[in-house]
């Protein structure tokens, strides 16, 4: 059969009202400093993992705040928990705990789904 090369392109739009923001809510409830991030990116600049692979805590935190969780699920496991991000954060976000809580929230979500 002739192939015409048509395909469906996924909408890039973030549909805020439809998205699932429960991971972000889970983290914010347990680590309030998660709320005060101003997206300066210092954590990502200091990050060893981020310098070698596609891993950015700045990006991770904004994505889960928007409920774009799929991209984060695998990325978050790359963190080596060295804690350099905590040392550089100008707002005093407890970044290591944020990462642990995101991982925990995903784990609980998977367990509940089973």
């Amino acid at each position: 059969m002739e192939k015409f090369g048509f395909s469906l392109i996924k909408d890039r739009k973030i549909d805020y009202d439809v998205n699932d923001r429960s991971i972000a809510e889970y983290v914010a409830a347990r680590e309030p400093s998660f709320r005060i991030c101003i997206e300066c990116g210092c954590c990502s600049a200091a990050c060893t993992t981020g310098n070698l692979t596609k891993f950015s805590l700045r990006e991770i935190q904004i994505l889960i705040k928007r409920g774009e969780n799929d991209e984060v699920r695998d990325m978050i496991r790359k963190c080596m928990l060295c804690g350099k991000c905590i040392l550089v954060c100008p707002r005093g976000v407890n970044t290591r705990n944020v990462i642990l809580l995101i991982q925990e929230a995903f784990r609980k979500k998977t367990e509940n789904a089973v």
Partner: protein, 345 residues
Amino acid sequence: MYDMSYRVVVIGGGVAGMEAAAQLAGRGCKVTVFEKEAETGGHVKNWFHLFPDRKDSREVLKYLDNKINHSNITLLTGVPVERINTSNGLLSLFAGDGKEITADAVVIATGFDLFRSEKKEEYGYGIYENVISSADLEKMFRKGEIRKHDGSKPEKIGLVHCVGSRDEKVDNLYCSKLCCVTAVKQAMEIAEYIENAKVFCFYMDMRMGGAMYEELYREAQEEYGISFIRGKVSEVAPDINNKLIVKVEDTLTGRPLKMGIDLLVLMAGMEMSEGGKKIALSAGLDTGENRFFKPMDLHYASNKSNVDGVFYAGTCTMPMNITEAISHARAAAADVMDYLDSRTN
């Protein structure tokens, strides 16, 4: 006995005008204040609480009212000044009521006008009933309730920064400077009025360069759970349920974002006042690229105009907060006194 006091006219009875008048009266000048509105107080009387300490605006007005209640001050309300004539080395002012008055010095304190939000048609002010301005919201605060047009309580509220500021499309290249902190203050107040409200600020940059502004921003995030989305709203349109659909590029994820909002507040910027423009034209006073009055020097002569005997106080020269307007007015009074004394000695 002939009265040897200096006669100074202050144009505008807002914060800067009142403060300048009080300072000059205290130094022995006979001061006439022209205020175009029926009452003094300028824009402050339309505001509820002030940033960053959430002080009731009426406290500031009380302070100023007390100060201008002075035997050397003649207050003329409901009288706009139409033009200034500077020929023959005399300063003659022509008021709206047809009166002419001469003065030894003039302090222009004509203030600002709020940007008319309907000019940003894509945000739907004056078209969609649940799109309001920051000034409209202050009226709701004063009334004690925040409601949508149909009387119901909004749950999701958006605040759009930079409406009429930093925007070449409305010929305002400058930053109005106060809208960011006003948005933060208003977002917190909304969160206090409406339990479990979801409040979003759509901003281009957070410009929190005043005393205690950054702290307020942090408090809004930490204690009030206000969400900040970086991106300028491109357009607003209602959906079938009359929810306002806001379209914005979420520049921190690098993706377009859409969101339904119940009540949208536009943070209107500050512009040179229409009254000020008329006076500038009549007296040959220089205005800048941003249309505000242009002081002789931005560093050390921010109260001086290009016309002898004419001085500036407050937001007629640039956007300022109340603290800055009061300081600027005091500096204007000092410049006026220097000028008057140097002329006679």
